[in-house]
Amino acid sequence: MLTFVIRRMIATVFVVFTITVLVFLIFFHTPGVDPARKLAGRNPSPDTIKAIKHQYGLDRPLPVQYLILMKKLFISRDLTSYSNQGQKVVPEIVAATPVTLSLVLGAAVIWVVVSILMGVAAAVLRGTIFDPMLMVLALIGISMPVFWLGEMANLITQDRYHDTFLFSWVPPLGYTPLTQDPVMWFKHLVIPWLVLSVLYIGLYARVLRADLLETENEDYVRTARAKGLSERRVLLRHTLRTSMISFVSLFGLDFGVLVGGGALLVEVVFALPGVGLLTYQSLISLDLPVIMATVIYGAIFIVIANAVVDVGYAWLDPRVRPA
């Protein structure tokens, strides 16, 4: 198991390295994209551009530029934003991470619990009207775009019905750190949590239902029944337990993507100053250092999530465990 984990970590380093190179090449050396021109302001003289290129090291050979960028990003951590000179990129990401984590963790708890309940309920109630009803509900959840749902939620809770007893407790858009005021933290996040989790509840409930029904036909489930176990035990310890293998691997990947900045739309709609909002702002202003940093941050999280999924997978399924 230890060598397995170490092997995964080495692979992770390689993947992150490759991603940094790719991102560097895409954003700094795509033809037509000239960071120096962007930095120099309107109608710059060729001399200004040259000076800026020199100042930022953009006239040096590519590998050197890459190394300088990586040094600024990982070692000295003083990479500064192009659009706001005083802004240091790394601390900003560090500050934004807890916001994104709060958002995604909360939503994950909701979507895991609700989708398991829905998926199991639909599988158990197969043959009744409730199964197709639950699945249509899930499909509606999948079909609603998250930015639209978020705006609708804002329209209702911030505007139209804000003054009613239902939503008067909803604070204005924004974020309060957990350490500062847990109650406020919760109030700020509860609606974003629900909005973010709706899509995943729908997806996971459908996946889990299909998986449960497939597992139901497995010989070992028949064996479990033949042993004289109660339906409840057969469902929880045999059918659901083995169905969790694919559920968990799906979860790890989605979780990684969301923590890595995939919750961008929700963060923008609810003005949550997380990594997604940071990425969004840097993309609008083509602020290359920030884009670079957020993409690498995202990549690292996704790769870590992948590694965690692999380890978790081995933990759940003894067949893939290294001997």
Binding site: R225, G228, E231, R319
Partner: protein, 338 residues
């Protein structure tokens, strides 16, 4: 063996409603199993033998299944029990082992745990007692070094060893009846012999009754005391095992016996096969189900459904309208059916 049989199946029928029509999987099957006896149920795929076995355990949960008949076990009709009451019977009084040991064990649990689970469900043993009992069982079914293997996962066992684990599980609560549904089909021939011997030995040791379901007459000859031959959901012949092989009465049984390659006979040019296909279970032919494939069919076979009754002697039942003499004459005339 005095008194009532341990398990008595009376006129059991199982059909499934499907979009194409009603499938009559099992049609009026009756048999008895006594304590300490091995009953072999032989038939080809789709003859209803597995459905019969699953029905005895009430393991058919298909909402489109329709049942009739009785399964009397220790004075109770299992068909009338609630699923909750069946939990006490399943795995405790009647247990079952399945065809494919590769897929019949849950891949994510250790084999010892899977046996413990059954023991704890029925015997109320503590974890420690259950583990000790599991170790004994694994030893009894011939798993070498059970202490080392009890915490292995199913994928770490070979097919034969997994079937031994299944047998250990089946016998864990000292069942009165063990139903073995094609227990050797998925195994190598050498392993088959070992597993059959094991089932035979354990059956004597535990004094269980065994219902052995197979398509292999060789297996039946080896371990069964009595045999029921099934065709298209019905029992067509029912006899003591020696009797069945010495004097088979039903043309279908002749066909089955004729299709076995034998070393004690002059070599035939080809193995005899029963011509035609088994009938669709949705639209069974009128009269005898075997008639379309039977070389000896005559007018009565079309009109009358032959009952399973003793025609050649007491205890040897068959469902063929030919008289015993006629059968003997017909059989003598066809060398490959002997």
């Amino acid at each position: 063996m005095s008194g009532a049989p341990l398990l008595e199946v009376r006129d059991l029928s199982v059909s499934f409603r499907t979009q194409d029509g009603t499938v009559h999987a099992v049609d009026g099957v009756s048999f008895t199993v006594n304590r300490g006896e091995v009953l072999g149920i032989v038939g080809e795929s789709g003859s209803g033998k597995s459905v019969t076995a699953m029905t005895l355990m009430r393991l058919i949960l298909d909402q489109n299944a329709v049942f009739s008949g009785e399964v009397l076990f220790q004075g109770r009709d299992l068909m009338q029990l609630s699923q909750g009451d069946m939990l006490q019977v399943r795995g405790k009084q009647i247990s079952m082992i399945f065809q494919d040991p590769m897929t019949s064990l849950n891949p994510v649990y250790r084999v010892g745990w899977q046996i413990d689970e059954q023991l704890r469900a029925h015997e109320g043993l503590s974890a420690k007692q259950a583990r000790r009992r599991t170790l004994e069982l694994l030893g009894a079914v011939g798993i070498p070094n059970p202490e080392a293997r009890i915490d292995d996962y199913p994928h770490q066992f070979s097919g034969g060893m997994r079937q031994r684990v299944m047998i250990a599980m089946g016998l864990s609560c000292n069942p009165d009846v063990l139903i073995a549904d094609e227990p050797t089909t998925a195994l190598d021939v050498t392993i088959q012999a070992q597993i059959l011997e094991l089932i035979g030995n354990l059956q004597r040791e535990f004094d269980s009754a065994v219902v052995l379901i197979t398509h292999d007459l060789g297996v039946v000859a080896e371990v069964a005391d009595r045999v029921a031959v099934m065709y298209a959901g019905r029992i067509v012949e029912y006899a003591e095992v020696g009797e069945l092989f010495r004097g088979p009465q039903h043309p279908y049984t002749w066909g089955l016996l004729g299709s076995i390659s034998r070393l004690d006979r002059p070599r035939q040019r080809r193995l005899a096969a029963i011509s035609g296909q088994p009938p669709s279970l949705i639209s069974l032919p009128a009269g005898c189900s075997f008639r379309p494939r039977c070389p000896f069919a005559f007018d009565r076979c079309r009109a009358e459904r032959p009952a399973l009754e003793a025609r050649s002697g007491p205890g040897h039942l068959d469902a063929c309208l030919l008289s015993a003499d006629q059968k003997q004459a017909r059989r003598a005339a066809t060398p490959e059916a002997s």
